[in-house]
Structure formats: C-alpha cells, structure tokens
C-alpha cells in the first residue's frame, strides 16, 4: 500500500489583498508552500457578498497549507493577532499525504 503520513491541513478564508501577508507568515513558520483559490460568494455577519466587484479589495480566497503539527502550530500562532483585524476564518483538520517529507 501507498505510504501515507499524517499532516495538518489549514484552510484560511481571507481577503485577496491580504494573501501575500499570509504567505509570508506561512513561510516564516517554515511551511514550504501554499495553494490558493478564489471563492465566488458567501454570506456572513457582513451580509451577502458575491464577486461582482471592480476593486478586488473585498474578493476572498481560500488559502490552503499542509504542514506537520509543529509548523502548523507556529503558523496558527502567527495568525492569532490577525484573526480579528483581518476577519479571518480558519479551519484545521488532519489529512494523510504522500511524499510527506516535503511538508
């Protein structure tokens, strides 16, 4: 059977202009990479939104990192001060990955 290793999966819902900041924090936490995709709408306490915006200032992305527990903890700690000011939604769960050495 394929060898799989347990890693942490962290997903952050974040405004597009703040993505670069997250990427820096992930890198500082020793995480080797990230993956990003645009979400196209949603609703929350701030009301309903959809992507039909010119400025992209309030466009949102899902920011995904896979990392071992230690780096994941470091990243979460680095996110802590931003949670409220940047209105982040953060989800963490466990996944099994292959080629685990890279994460």
């Amino acid at each position: 059977m394929t060898e799989m290793t347990r890693r942490e999966r962290i997903e952050v819902l974040v405004d597009a202009p703040l993505v670069r900041k997250l990427a820096e924090l992930a890198q500082e936490a020793g995480i080797t990479g990230h993956t990003l995709w645009r979400v196209t709408g949603g609703s929350g306490t701030g009301g309903v939104w959809s992507e039909d915006l010119l400025s992209g200032a309030t466009a949102k992305c899902l920011f995904l990192v896979i990392a071992n527990a230690e780096r994941a903890d470091a990243f979460m700690a680095a996110l802590e001060p931003l949670l409220d000011s940047h209105q982040l939604i953060v989800m963490r769960s466990a996944v099994d990955v292959v080629r685990a050495a890279r994460f």
Binding site: D15, P17, L18, R20, K21, G46, G47, V48, W49, E51, D52, L53, L54, S55, G56, A57, T58, L82, D84, S85, H86, Q87
Partner: protein
Amino acid sequence: MSPPVLFFVLGALAAAARSDLAVPETVAKGLSLYLMAAIGLKGGVEVSRAGIDGQLGLALLAGVVLSFSIPFLVAPVLRRFGRLDRVNAGAVAAHYGSVSVVTFVTANQIYAGSGFLAAGFMVAVLAAMETPAILSGLIIARREGGGRLFEPRLLHEVAFNGSVVLLLGSFAIGMLLGEDGYQPILPLFTTGFTGVLCLFLLDMGLIAMRRLMQTRALTVRLAMLGVVFPLVNGTLGVVAGVLVGLDAPSVAVLGVLAASASYIAVPAAMRLSLPQADAGLYLAMSLGVTFPFNIVLGIPLFRGLAEALTPLMGAA
C-alpha cells in the same frame, strides 16, 4: 443624457429591481484596461500635437496638492458629523482625496461630445492624483499609533499600481506615436470608445446600486457626506484650476477629479494597510453614493462652474 449615462442609469435600475443582469468580472476588467489604454493614448497624442508648456507642471502641482490635502479636510467631518473612529475616518478620507478613473473618462467623453475639450495632459494629472491621498489617509488613521506609518511594500504597490502604469505608459506611447503613428490603432481606441464606455457604465450602475443596497454600514449622515464631499471638493478643484490658469475644460476636469472618489486602487491599499477599517463602508460611500452623484450631476455641474469662474481669472 448621453448614451454612457443612460446605460449607467439602466444598470442602476436593473440592480434596484433585483435583476440578475451581470457583467462578468473579468470582462469588466478587460473593458477597464481598454478604457485606460485609450484615454492614455488619446492624451499622449494630444500632447504630442499641442506640445507641453508650463501648464502641465502647474496642473500636476494643483492635482497633487488637492489629493494630499483633501483627506485632512474631510477626515474631521467624518469623525464629528459622520461619527467614525480614527481608522475608518482615515480610510474613507483617503478615498476622497484620490480619484476615479471612470468618472474622469466619462467627463472627458461628455465634454468632448459638445466640443469642450480638456488638455491632453490631464491624464497625467489623473495618474498623479491617485496616490498622495493614500499617504494622507494613513497619517490620519495612525497619527498616534506607535507602529511605522506604512510598510515599504505599500509605497511600491501604490507607485506601480496597474492603473497608474497603464495610464502613464499609454500616455507615453501616445506621445511617441504622434498623430500619424496613432492612425493604425485609432479605429479600436477612438472609434469604439464611447460604445465600450456604455457597456462599462452599465456594469458600474449595477455594481454601484448593489453596493448601496447590500451595505449595512452606511448611515444617513454618511450618505449625506457622500454628496457634500464631491460638491465641496469639486469646487476646490475648480478654484485651484482657475488659480493656476488652466483653460475652462481642463478646469472642469480638475473639478471632476477632485470631486471623484477612488473605488479601485485605494480600497485595495486600505484593505492591506488598515484591515480593521470597514471595507463595506468606504465602498458604499465612494461607489454607491459619490460615483453616481458625479456621473449624473457632478459632471455637468463642474462644467458650469468652470465656465463661470474661468473668465474671471482671465480678466484679472
């Protein structure tokens, strides 16, 4: 009303009726790149014909001073009358100091339609006015904070902002090409222009009205300021233009620029630098209130004011 304004109204009505009419975001982005390239080229070709004189320098100076100082003017009003905290006041103020490219484009098009032609170099003034206000907004928001005023990355992002680069780059290309070199691309960039502007303003009408309807942050007081600010700032712009000795159409355009509020470059910068400010608020004010006001009322108004005031200066 001119075709672009009619399409703007159509978009606003459609959104008000909760129609699902929508222009895909990437298409709107494509149209706006076209509009910026076209307006830059036109300005550059025009300057290559008319030459540059001292006027450009004075107009640039007026524009930069307006962009930098308007935020300091509006921020106290936002705090006291508008009841915003320092950070939100700074963020909103930055929008009013900066400018809206589409408002500029629409004003030029409407004015030109009746032979009221602003100087080509006003494109450079437009580009110059985009960023000083961001600096002012951050100064206001962080006046007493301990941290540094802005991250170095911000300055770079703001200076090499896509729309500034495209406007000034096309302007430079227009100057290099001159009228003859411009001929092969004139059909796309000049002949098709008003039509594309119609489609773009249709989308702007949809977006502005939806923004207004979805907002939860906009109070009556702030909505009032969204009308008062363009009136006051536009008058300041007209007066500044008259003082530095511009011709009437350029004066009117400087008024429109001062009156207009950014809804592209500044929101992105504020989201990055002042993430705790309420994006719903500044977008509702600039895009939902001030932009429609300028498109429908501001543009003819500042022309009237410019035509009334410019002769006074000439006579002096």
